[in-house]
Symmetry: C2
């Protein structure tokens, strides 16, 4: 089954792509098998990360970008990372609404991701879904996130290009700039630029950027104004993305460096998760995992000591010093 699914994904079959991403989202082992199978066929798509606070008009902007990409004949896949609860059903509804405009276009695939698993579940699922779209032959893959969380910022930071979208008058300008996204931007977009305060926001970003010391020849993030609802400024945004892609003046390392950083994050995260799953399933006797958690909760043992004991046991290192204190 899995090999057939992989073949259909590689052939660009939209239903197979959707099925593959569902497997990934559900943390089904078949999803991991699939990623393993297709991995060698990835690395060709250009990955655009787009983030910004809620209400910045990111979805509309991405829809406009899709239109622009399609006019150049290229195919595009979109993953909208959305920490929506199934309770509200926002992701599914949003998908349906957004798919409408491009429903008859086979070269466009849009999917929302909403995972509520353990720590890191969302970034893992997003990374794997991007690999699926890449393997399916999409020229451009856009990952759109609500950019205030650490995981979400991490997703966008390791894309081939990071676009940060801000909006005038969304409460306090400084507040928006504070959200850990200033330093990850390769391009700033001030969307809803017809609103009052757009120029003030541009000045505010410029002022903050001016504090940053650029090395000679380093890329200076441009600040673009768009009105996504009308499409104004979108082709300029596409041009800026293309300019960045071709420029050698990259901040935070070359394209190769970023792809390496993605590989490293993926390896660390997977190694950690698989080890914990192994300990839980194979090492600790039934109920022992729960018993440790109970003892931590009741303050009978602290988590550091508990982890040191379990690690020493699993690794059969009786005196492994878990905390390498420079003082000890």
């Amino acid at each position: 089954v899995s090999a057939a699914l992989a073949d259909r994904v590689l052939a660009g079959d939209a239903r197979a792509i959707a099925r593959a991403i569902t497997l990934i989202e559900n943390e089904d082992a078949a999803g991991a098998d699939l990623v393993r199978t297709i991995y060698g066929r990835t690395g060709r798509a250009f990955l655009i990360g787009l983030t910004g606070p809620p209400g910045a008009g990111k979805s509309t902007l991405v829809d406009r970008l899709i239109g622009d990409v399609r006019r150049t004949g290229k195919s595009v896949g979109v993953i909208a990372v959305d920490p929506t609860s199934p309770f509200t059903g926002g992701a599914v509804l949003g998908d349906r609404l957004r798919m409408q405009a491009h429903a008859s276009d086979d070269a466009v695939f849009i999917r929302s991701m909403a995972t509520r698993g353990h720590l890191g579940g969302l970034s893992r699922a997003t990374a794997d879904a991007a690999l699926v779209l890449d393997a399916s032959g999409k020229d451009i893959v856009v990952i759109e996130t609500v950019g205030v969380g650490q995981d979400e910022v991490e997703i966008v930071r390791t894309a081939d290009i990071s676009v940060v979208t801000l909006v005038p008058g969304a409460g306090d300008d400084v507040q928006a700039l504070k959200a850990g996204i200033m330093e990850i931007a390769d391009i700033f977009v001030v969307n809803k630029a017809d609103r009052e305060g757009a120029d003030r926001l541009v000045s505010s970003i410029e002022a903050t950027l001016s504090l940053q010391t650029l090395e000679a020849g380093e890329w200076r993030p441009p600040i673009l104004k768009t009105i996504a609802t009308s499409g104004a400024g979108v082709s300029e945004l596409m041009s800026a993305i293309e300019l960045f892609r071709q420029s050698s003046a990259k901040p935070r390392g070359s394209l190769a460096d970023r792809r390496r950083a993605r590989g490293e994050a993926r390896f660390r995260e997977l190694l950690a998760r698989r080890f914990v799953a192994y300990v839980e399933a194979e090492v600790l006797p039934p109920k022992a995992f729960e018993s440790i958690v109970d003892r931590i909760a009741s303050r009978e043992i602290d988590p550091y000591t508990a982890v040191a004991e379990v690690l020493a046991g699993v690794l059969q290192l009786p005196n492994y010093q878990i905390t390498k204190s420079p003082n000890s």
Copy 2:
């Protein structure tokens, strides 16, 4: 040094608390030692998680809550989780401004946390900082986060009570509700309630809540209106928090269940991190870690296979089947 610091933290010394949190934030081994030492003296504080989108007035609301708590004679510690970059310096500036109002009050400790380490670094540091404040004898510990990221939601979700703050007219109401925070709220606060659209926002929350099936006797999250700048509604919020604290009608489990969930998250995260650090430092020969990452980045090997090989080697299990596929 560490034992002396622990003693001073336990005595409530503000400078020692600040120093301890800095060690934790810097991922210094002495920070872990400290938490290990004080852990048995924690579990007494009541932990309030407060989240909401940027611009919802969370800081002002927390300042008002501090005032209210102090009038009852209780001490309070605040951790403002802020994924701010050091580049903008927002956290430090914010701290200074906020500390002013309570600078002469020894029973109040306020600290912003901004960690940009590996995945999970922020939630780990926040959890440990909360333990420090707990051990220092603070009766109430407030963790304030910008609630759109998965990590941040996780931090608040496992608090003893979760307060979700929304604000009228912050773009699209549905957007605000979508951000994965609907289902974690024990109390909703509509702040800036003198703004246009406040009643519409309350209705919108009520409508969404009405879709949720409550079990008999289950806590129904109240929706409170506040104007943090004037203090209106803040004492009602404190009453609601107290009511929840005393009520047995808790959603998502009892206080003990939540504390157990915090213990479990802490144990899993620490076990994972320590294992990866061990593999990197002790198992893989120099350069081998980097070489694996290079091979993943160049598509020579997929991350799943790489992890399976490393795990099998470390655990000395030649045929350990890493992916437990139901199909294989």
